[in-house]
Structure formats: structure tokens, C-alpha cells
């Protein structure tokens, strides 16, 4: 069953320098219980897709297209109706846990207000529930620490608090927007394991937004590769890792540092990511693509389905796909 369906989603921002096209016609289908990675470089539009889903775009941003969650169209929904879905159905955790919590409020208050608001719980019951979830997220001495302020926690601990806070209403979908980017390498693994745990224990569907292809393997079933606000390739993680169809995906995978290869240097992708205000007529990756041909600059490649579970948008895909 498809829990979240995104159709032809575009996100634009009106700025002083003109219109910025952050997302350009993205399609996604996320099944209930799945764990999906949305991968892309900075500026690929991956976070803006998530903000558009949650209705959290900046004031100067606008979303067009369609986002349906469990059959309900989310785009254009009024603030009150969105508020009933936020956190209770779709929850989100953010990139920098150090700034994502309110430094002027105790953790207890920030957590319980979710439950008193959405579930109509008493403060006492909400507090007990919140402590229980902090415990489950392996925050030591949860009952004492819940009375503290964010600055009294470490970054990794705060991300656990944010995950616990996101799970309070047992949402069906959890969007994790680069949850480990701001954390120490040693803590990253713990947070990723915790997210896997969440999925196993609560049956939560998870979207993991990341620029780190390295953490996708082993943690997600499906992946979507974005570039210049467009989907380059999507499909099961294992199959994409084994045989990427899109030259961009191949470059991304090659750029992951590996111990089993005898490289002198890290392999990087030549050129710079696209500025999002000029919308190229052809493939957004054409300027940096090693397999580029004349047609790529001219014509936008359509999304093809080389296999029932895979999508690729490329004129010259790899692995002998026509």
C-alpha cells in the first residue's frame, strides 16, 4: 500500500534575484512500512521536498503538484488541518539537533505539549509517556534529564530526544532530514541503529534524507537519487548499489571512500552542482556527466522503467539498458 505519493512536485522560491527552482517535477511513491533514502548533494532539493510535504516551506516558497498522504491531498490544506497531521501522522526530525530544540524551554515541556495538544492527555500522563520514550531511545536517567534544558545535553543525546519527541504520537511516517550530518562520526552509527529500531518496533515508515550514500546501505530498502531538483534514479538500494543505471549515481557511489579499493585519492565528481535558478532545457547533470552527448543538453530525459522496480531518467544509461 502506498502511504505517501508525490506527483510532479515543484518548489519555487521568489527571491530578490528572481525565481529559484529548487524542485522540478519530482515523483515519489513510498509504501507503508518502507524505509526510503532520498540522496543528493546540497542544493539538490531533497530537504525542500520534505518541507513541502510538511507544509513548512519558507514564506517566499511555493509548492505545486500533488502530495497525497493516505489518500489526503496535503498541498493547499489549511493550517489547522495540516496541524492535525503534523507530528500525529507525519513527524520530522532535523539536521542540527543543537538548534532544533527551543533553548528557552525544558525538554519536558517541549515533549509534553505534543501529547496534550494532539492526544488531549493530562500533563502527568504526557510526562510519563515522554519519559518512557526517552528511555526507549536510550537516553540515560530519562526521568531526571527530562527536566533539563537543551544546552545541558550533547548533540547525539539531543538527536535522541528529537527522535523520541517525533515518536510521541506514534506517527505513521517519520521524515529524518540529515539526522546525522551535524553529529560525531561515532554517534552516527548509534542514531542510524536507533532509527532502524524505531521502524522495527513501531512499524513507522521512514524517509531518510541524506547526502551520505555510505549510510544508506544496510539501513534503507529503497533509494531515490536527486540532482538539480529532479529524480535521476530510484529503486531498491541493493540493486542500485550493485548496478547503477544513471551516470550520476555511479559517480556518487564512486565518491564514497572505501577501504577495499586501492585508490591514492578520493574520487570526486568534476564541476560544481547546478545553480537552481537557471533551469536547463536538458538533463541537469549534463555539464558534469562523463557519458554526455549532444542530445543531453537539449532534451530532458524522460523517466524510464528498465525493470518493474527501477526508474531512471537518462539518455545514455549504464549497464546496457536501451
Amino acid at each position: 500500500m502506498t502511504l505517501l505519493r508525490v506527483r510532479d512536485l515543484s518548489v519555487t522560491f521568489e527571491t530578490g534575484d528572481g525565481t529559484v527552482n529548487a524542485v522540478n517535477g519530482v515523483d515519489l511513491a513510498i509504501g507503508a512500512g518502507q524505509s526510503v533514502a532520498v540522496v543528493g548533494e546540497s542544493g539538490s532539493g531533497k530537504s525542500q521536498i520534505m518541507f513541502a510535504i510538511m507544509g513548512l516551506l519558507a514564506r517566499n516558497g511555493a509548492a505545486a503538484g500533488s502530495v497525497t498522504f493516505d489518500g489526503t491531498e496535503l498541498l493547499g490544506l489549511d493550517e489547522g488541518a495540516l496541524n492535525r497531521i503534523r507530528s500525529s501522522q507525519i513527524a520530522m526530525i532535523f539536521q542540527n539537533p543543537m538548534t532544533a530544540l527551543n533553548p528557552y524551554m525544558r525538554i519536558s515541556h517541549q515533549m509534553t505539549e505534543v501529547l496534550t495538544l494532539h492526544k488531549g492527555m493530562s500533563r502527568r500522563a504526557a510526562l510519563a509517556e515522554a519519559i518512557g520514550l526517552l528511555d526507549a531511545m536510550e537516553v540515560p536517567e530519562a526521568a531526571t534529564r527530562i527536566g533539563m534544558y537543551p544546552h545541558e545535553f550533547s548533540g547525539g543525546m539531543l538527536q535522541r530526544v528529537l527522535i523520541a519527541m517525533a515518536l510521541l504520537c506514534r506517527p505513521r511516517l517519520l521524515i529524518a532530514d540529515e539526522p546525522t550530518t551535524a553529529l560525531d562520526a561515532t554517534v552516527r552509527g548509534q542514531i542510524m541503529r536507533l532509527l532502524a529500531d524505531v521502524r522495527a518496533r513501531f512499524g513507522t515508515t521512514v524517509i531518510l534524507v541524506t547526502h551520505d550514500v555510505g549510510i544508506v546501505a544496510g539501513h534503507c530498502d529503497e533509494m531515490v537519487v536527486l540532482y538539480g531538483g529532479r529524480v535521476m534514479e530510484s529503486g531498491p538500494v541493493a540493486r542500485i548499489f550493485a548496478a547503477p543505471h544513471h551516470p550520476y549515481t555511479r559517480s556518487l557511489l564512486d565518491a564514497v571512500p572505501r577501504l577495499d579499493r586501492d585508490d591514492e585519492r578520493l574520487r570526486s565528481i568534476p564541476g560544481d552542482p547546478l545553480g537552481t535558478n537557471l533551469l536547463p532545457a536538458g538533463c541537469p547533470f549534463a555539464a558534469r556527466c562523463p557519458r554526455v552527448e549532444e542530445r543531453c543538453h537539449r532534451e530532458r530525459p524522460a523517466s524510464e522503467r528498465p525493470a518493474p522496480d527501477r526508474v531512471v531518467a537518462c539518455h545514455r544509461p549504464l549497464e546496457g539498458v536501451a
Binding site: L56, R59, G80, L82, L101, Y104, M105, E113, M165
Partner: protein, 307 residues
């Protein structure tokens, strides 16, 4: 916390001493003296007067005597201008007046200013925002010596609703116009500061988290954003409060309220040394006090600040 307050007190004493010495010296250096009148006094009379008030002593001795009498007897000396009145009497008379209209002005300025600022920030770039910014700028550029006559013109001369002046022990019709005249420009500054700091806070990451939690806007504004947004407002309010309760010469003169602001200016013009000094010390002491209050409020709002 206790340690912090003790430390503040320990700093306050030398600060006030420096204030006394510097003001005294400046005042003394200004040309003219308290007993210079149009009619030249006979030298013997002048010498007598100078001797009576200790003005024939060297400056250092005068300052020393002044400080000693404050510390030992809390006596700020006699007024040279108003015979039979001490500085203590003048402050006891005038300060309650300015405290009353200044206190009300403060309340009005804070309540209206903060509400206007929040409304403008929440409805950023809408008609309400432009309206509130327009009102703030208008109120800020309108000096109270212009506003006061306009108010009197409207409410006293045309509508005949309010008395044009006097105090009557602070009976409310006498308080209204002084409060409006004094609070308007402060209100405008508060609105402006609140608006810009609220706009900044509403862009913070933790506000996006609050929105992702599905909290309604009013709750985000009042529970999550208000406290941090008020921090810059509070640091403005400390000195502003002192400015309001020590009164304004425009208000006192125009509405004949008998507040302390009028005495301050008169004493400066007449070289009434003890009154100048008394009111300066009052304002200085209050400034120190309310700066400390501001610091305590900061710690109350921001848990990362601890003393």
C-alpha cells in the same frame, strides 16, 4: 545569585561615588553661582551666604562633606533656590508624581509596543505590518513637546474632556494626557525592537520544529518565540523605565504636574547645586538598580545564563 547581587552592590558604590565627584566638579566648573542675581549682592552678604552653605571651602572638602552627610544622615542638603526646603523634601514631593505618570507610561508603552511589534512580525509584509511600522515611525518622530500641545488642543480646548494641567494628587483625568505624551515615543521604540527581534526568532530552527509538531501559530508565538524575542526589548526597557519615572521636563512644565523633571531643569538653570546633585544621584542609583533587574530577567528567560 546572592553572590551576583553582592558583587553588583560592591560595584554600585564606587560607581555612585564617581558619579558624585564628576557631576560635582562639572557643576562647579560651569560659570555662574547659586547666588548670582541681577541685583549684585553686597560682598559681605555674599560671603555670609557662601560661608553658610560651605561654598567657601575647597572643592574636595565640599565633596567630602556632601558624601559624609549623605552616608551618615541620608541628607542631600538644603535647596538654595527654594528656601526652607531640603533636597529630600523636593524629591519626596516630586518623585511620587513622576513615578505615577512614568509608571503608567511604562505600562502603556510596553503593552501597546509589544503587542504592536508581535502583530507586525506575525503578519510580516501584510497591511497590518505596514500599518504598525507606519504608526511606530510616526510616533517616534513626534516629539512630546509637539504632542503635548496637540493633545491639549484636542482634549481640553475642543472636546473639553480633560483638564489642561495640574495634578490633584494624581486623580486620573490629570494623569491621562501626561501618560500619552510621555509613552508614545517609547511605545514606538518598543514596537520596532519587538518586531525585528520577533521576526528573527520566528526564522529560528526551533520554530520550524515547533511548527512540525503541529502547534497552532498563537501557541508558537507565545510559548516558543515570545521569551527570546523579548530579550532585546528588556535590555532597552531598563534604562527606558528609569527615564520615564524620573520624569520629563516637557511633561512637568506643560501639564504643570509638579514632577521632578521640572525641578531638575530649574535647578540646573539656577545653579541650585544640592538639587542638581540629588536628582542626578537618584537617576544614577535607579539606573544601576534597573540594569541589575534587567540582568536578573535575562537569567530568568535564558537558562544558559546563570550567575
Amino acid at each position: 545569585m546572592i553572590y551576583f547581587l553582592l558583587k553588583r552592590l560592591a560595584v554600585a558604590v564606587p560607581t555612585l561615588l564617581i558619579l558624585i565627584v564628576v557631576s560635582y566638579v562639572l557643576m562647579y566648573a560651569a560659570p555662574g553661582g547659586p547666588f548670582d542675581t541681577e541685583r549684585t549682592l553686597p560682598p559681605e552678604v555674599m560671603a555670609n551666604l557662601q560661608h553658610k552653605y560651605g561654598l567657601d571651602q575647597p572643592l574636595a572638602v565640599q565633596i567630602w562633606r556632601y558624601v559624609v552627610s549623605i552616608v551618615t544622615e541620608f541628607d542631600f542638603g538644603p535647596s538654595f533656590q527654594y528656601t526652607d526646603q531640603s533636597v529630600n523634601d523636593i524629591i519626596e514631593q516630586g518623585f511620587p508624581v513622576t513615578l505615577t505618570y512614568g509608571g503608567w507610561s511604562f505600562l502603556v508603552a510596553v503593552l501597546v509596543g509589544v503587542s504592536l511589534g508581535i502583530a507586525a512580525a506575525v503578519h510580516h509584509n501584510t497591511l497590518l505590518d505596514y500599518l504598525s511600522v507606519g504608526v511606530s515611525i510616526g510616533a517616534q518622530v513626534l516629539p512630546n513637546f509637539v504632542l503635548a500641545p496637540i493633545l491639549t488642543l484636542i482634549f481640553t480646548l475642543w472636546l473639553a474632556w480633560l483638564p489642561g494641567g495640574g495634578w490633584q494628587g494624581g486623580h486620573w483625568p490629570y494623569v491621562i494626557m501626561p501618560v500619552i505624551a510621555l509613552s508614545t515615543s517609547f511605545m514606538a521604540s518598543i514596537a520596532r525592537i519587538t518586531r525585528s527581534s520577533m521576526l528573527e526568532v520566528l526564522n529560528a530552527d526551533f520554530i520550524r520544529t515547533a511548527r512540525a509538531k503541529g502547534l497552532p501559530m498563537w501557541r508558537i508565538v507565545f510559548r516558543h518565540a515570545l521569551k527570546p524575542a523579548l530579550l532585546p526589548v528588556i535590555s532597552y526597557l531598563g534604562p527606558a523605565f528609569v527615564g520615564m519615572i524620573t520624569g520629563s521636563v516637557v511633561i512637568d512644565v506643560f501639564f504643570a504636574t509638579g514632577g521632578i523633571g521640572q525641578f531638575f531643569v530649574n535647578s540646573a538653570l539656577n545653579r541650585d547645586y544640592p538639587v542638581i546633585m540629588g536628582i542626578t544621584i537618584l537617576a544614577g542609583g535607579l539606573t544601576i538598580l534597573f540594569n541589575t533587574v534587567v540582568d536578573l530577567l535575562y537569567a530568568w528567560i535564558d537558562p544558559r545564563i546563570r550567575y
